[in-house]
Amino acid sequence: MKLLEYQAKEVFRSAGILTPKEIMVMSLDDAVKAAEDVVGYPCVVKAQVPVGGRGKAGGVRLAKSKEEVANITSKILGMDIKGCTVEKVLISEAVTVSKEYYLSVVLHRGSKKPMVIISPSGGVDIEEISKTHPEMIFKEEFDMILGFKDYSLRNLYKKVFSGQGEKVSFSVFKSFLEKLIDIYFKKDATLVEINPLIIHNGQCMALDAKILLDDNGLVFHPEFSKYVNDNSDETEQEKMAREASLTYISLEGDIACMVNGAGLAMATMDTITHFGGSAANFLDIGGSSNPEKVVNALKIIASNKKVKSILINIFGGITRCDDIANGFKEGIEKVKIDLPISCRIVGTNDQEAKRIMNSIGINVSVNMDEAIQNAVKLSKDGK
């Protein structure tokens, strides 16, 4: 789960990390009130959306007066940024910036532990910098026994803060990093990112904030549940899937897929493409054999108006094929489906599944390629 900037900054402030003075608002009136009563001028109006590139899309703008705040906020609220409608803006103090740094704590798969990434060349071009000037990017592994190693951190500090710009002491920098890693572990995050980080009166300050939370850890953090419905750039189907605890991703094609297991679901999409078709979605119904999940899955894929054919690809293991078939039968009875269906089921109890599917008029293949080629054909026949 990705936290929006204002949410991440709430986490930052409770951990003692300095941010600009700022207020999240959802209306024009509140925006003006925030600027007038609390934040002052100049201030920055920042769209709160769960996608990157809002700056280039015009979602972050400086306002120098009441009129400008009103004018800019009215433009940003309701704006569409990469498919997300802006419903919230942050009215933020415009802080003097002498130099922009980049700083993040991120899970590093290779070393199996968090890593600190820091650069004296922060700002919107950091990814480009990392390619063209890799020597400007510094990395430091966090040690699970020692924490940060003093000797190593001192070297890092010298390299990063030796240039122009306002100075920060080593101990301030170190304690700032310790706060970040504390957030990382205590909140079960996989990324805590500040870009830009600035030095303000000798202190580190976060001008922006991004936190990615590990979904597996959310159960320990009820404090984030209030944000769940807030942070998604999801389609209608994706939202339905989340509520039904299914993993669904909307795609551009016209063959709806229902598969068990993420790897097999991806391989199914790849094979559809290989045979000239195009998948309408990624859908993993998971390892469970719960028929209700199948009913929900069917509802969701059928609600996509672009779909021309339905492909079912099940490899039973823990998943019992007859459970899937029963769920499908129940679903077909509840959801009116006008689309042609191609079905492949193999594995645990597949004979019983075949009998059930046949009973509702659906043929079952044991061969994945065959079923997929059929689904592709069906998707084109209708055109």
Binding site: K112, Y184, D214, G263
Partner: protein, 286 residues
């Protein structure tokens, strides 16, 4: 031969009295796996599918000499279960459980680093099987046949699909290892490739990867330097939308790796034959 598990492996099932634990204990025993013990705290002394249950892994190891543990306990307790198994002295720990918080695994991995003799497979994996000898996991036993193809995979059902097509083509498997799909896993592609390379029964290797991370790219480097046997690959996700990005940090770390294209290219560059679709794998093995 075969790798990691065989007819001599003595298995202890952690969480044996749970729904999944009990179901798969039955399947493993039916397959012929030597399941010697189960563990559920507070249920010591009971029998679960005729397997004696102990209160702790330590007790089970002392009583039965179990050397391999398989973990079916719920995600909230699974990381601790790995630690318990490691402390009790089993040599191979297979963690099936899905949904363990990543940073709990970060901590467990740091701990396991202090115990270099202990190997973890998973978490969030289907386990492993040496056909005809021993099944430690949830893989459907009947799709496997004893043979000379070593299979290693990050995926679950996709592995079954590939094995199904290998076995259907008349070939068989030496060992099939599902290493798991989580960002932080124990045994990785390289560890498994090394074992397959040294295993006389294994004549060729199938590597099943997917988008995300750079495990396949690293495996390719390793294959170039060390593997003498034929390797066939498949990467799932060629047509998948790009993985959700880990902020700028993700881009800085990955530097373009992690896509299916990058992985396919890396593998093909070192002579691995990469299948376009799973059904092509058997012919590439021949």
């Amino acid at each position: 031969m075969s790798i990691l598990v065989d007819e001599k492996s003595k298995i202890v099932v952690q969480g044996i009295t749970g729904r999944d634990g009990l179901f798969h204990t039955e399947k493993m025993v039916q397959y012929g796996t030597n399941v010697v013990a189960g563990v559920t705290p507070g249920k010591g002394g009971q029998l679960a599918y005729n397997v004696p249950v102990f209160n702790s892994v330590e007790e089970s190891v002392k009583a039965t000499g179990a050397d391999t543990s398989i973990i079916y306990v719920p995600e909230k307790f699974a990381a601790d279960a790995i630690v318990e198994a490691a402390d009790a002295g089993v040599k191979l720990i297979v963690c099936i459980t899905e949904g363990i918080p990543i940073n709990q695994m970060v901590t467990v991995q740091a701990y396991l680093k202090t115990k270099p003799d202990i190997r973890l497979i998973g978490p969030n994996c289907p386990g492993l099987i040496s056909p005809g000898k021993c099944k430690v996991g949830i893989l459907p036993g009947d799709i496997f046949a004893k043979g000379n193809v070593g299979v290693v995979s990050r995926s679950g059902t996709l592995t079954y699909e590939v094995v199904y097509s290998i076995t259907s083509s008349g070939l068989g498997e030496s060992t099939c290892v599902g290493i798991g799909g989580d960002p932080i896993i124990g045994t990785n592609f390289i560890d498994t490739l090394k074992l397959f390379n040294e295993d006389p029964q294994t004549q060729s290797i199938v590597l099943i990867g997917e988008i995300g991370g750079d495990a396949e790219e690293k495996a390719a480097e390793y294959i170039k330097k060390n593997i003498k046997k034929r390797v066939v690959g498949f990467i799932a996700g060629v047509t998948a939308p790009p993985e959700k990005r880990m902020g700028h940090a993700g881009a800085i770390i990955s530097q373009g790796k992690g896509t299916a294209a990058s992985k396919v290219e890396a593998l093909e560059e070192v002579g691995v034959r990469v299948a376009k679709i799973p059904s092509q794998i058997p012919e590439l093995l021949k």
